[in-house]
Symmetry: C2
Subunit: 218 residues, 2 copies
Amino acid sequence: MAPANAAVKIPVEMPVVEKRVRNRAATEQAILDAAKRLLAEEGFQNFGINAVARGAGCDKQLIYRYYGGLNGLVEAIGTDLGSWVTDRIPDDTGGMFLLTYGDLMERLSMLFLDALRADPLMRRIVAWEVSENSEQVRRLSEARSKALAGWIERMRGSLVPPKGVDAQAVNAMIFAAIQHIVLAAAVSDQCAGLVLKNGKDWEKAATALKRIVRGVYG
Amino acid sequence: MAPANAAVKIPVEMPVVEKRVRNRAATEQAILDAAKRLLAEEGFQNFGINAVARGAGCDKQLIYRYYGGLNGLVEAIGTDLGSWVTDRIPDDTGGMFLLTYGDLMERLSMLFLDALRADPLMRRIVAWEVSENSEQVRRLSEARSKALAGWIERMRGSLVPPKGVDAQAVNAMIFAAIQHIVLAAAVSDQCAGLVLKNGKDWEKAATALKRIVRGVYG
DNA sequence: CTTGTTATTCACCGCTCGGTGACAGATTGG
DNA sequence: CCAATCTGTCACCGAGCGGTGAATAACAAG
């Protein structure tokens, strides 16, 4: 156990606190968790080595050792992110029969809207993506869009968009709308004059979104 | 001219540079210009007192004196912003006859898309809006949305949206889509898998946007 | 010329940042 | 037992930040 004669060097106070166990794996996880938590809660603005180390309760040196600095840590977050879509968004049709491409896109829009609303980390990353163009952000962005594209492809099945519609461009618009409206709401509870506070407000937004989807895809 | 006996105090090098004239109004303008330029070119990340002072070529103390600090300076930018819409976006119908609400919204979408694409400062501010919720940003955001709403109201004339459509919610979606797609493109030349580099790419985006508008409003 | 007033600069403060080298304690292997 | 290795801590660096008090240079009025 703890040898009592270790008191030789103790300067003034007895550290009664539980000593951190020596466990690299656990520490790595703590760092990664702290990074994700910090990014989700505080945003990318004050995201730095010192803040993460503080949040993880360890020395920043360990971040350099285990992740090779902030870049490596962000990359680890990106890797984790790959499982976001599969974790947070259902992969089946929810018991519905998606008969048309319009059915599909309506459901995808709703799922994505809800998932993004529920995930602060993802929101912060999206905000980061449109605010900066660093190497870090590119990595995150790539991981995110790759996972998302895979999810859509999986859900699409054999459904094809109607002829005469540039589905890629239209869908980009729809997803852009969702992302921006969720970001704006998360910050200021409104977007372009539309209040987005309670569930009723979001119902209206969802209805409008569905109307847009149906307007294009029928 | 410059008195030669002034060399008494010169430490080592002769400042050949043109001496700044004493002119408060000009200095204030230089500060404001530097702030806008800096925000537009570098973004809100490295936007601070020191950077602005450097950019304006004066001491930061003057920013405190003339604007009461960064907050006041940002507020001044916001005031300036009020004239953005009226400056950058035409107020008439461009010679077209807007017969229906759909006509109106299609034209508004195109005008707003082009205007935002052409204005880096505005883009940075929008990105700022979805990234932070400080007092500064709120002020800017308010000024922007107010000007925008006024512009729309002016253009609307007597046209009314079709019954059975929540125009406010739908329009919020449309404007959200435009803002996000322009921001994303400005940073990474793409959005949700859709490449947005040259004019042809933007043509596709514009077409998709028009299709969405027409799908809802006919 | 003197005396204020105004515009502008300078020097300095405390703080946080990212980054690094050296060290201490635990664990493992011979 | 000693030596090497691994985990974790600490102290320190230079740089940049926001912010402030005091000095300085130009101009105006008397």
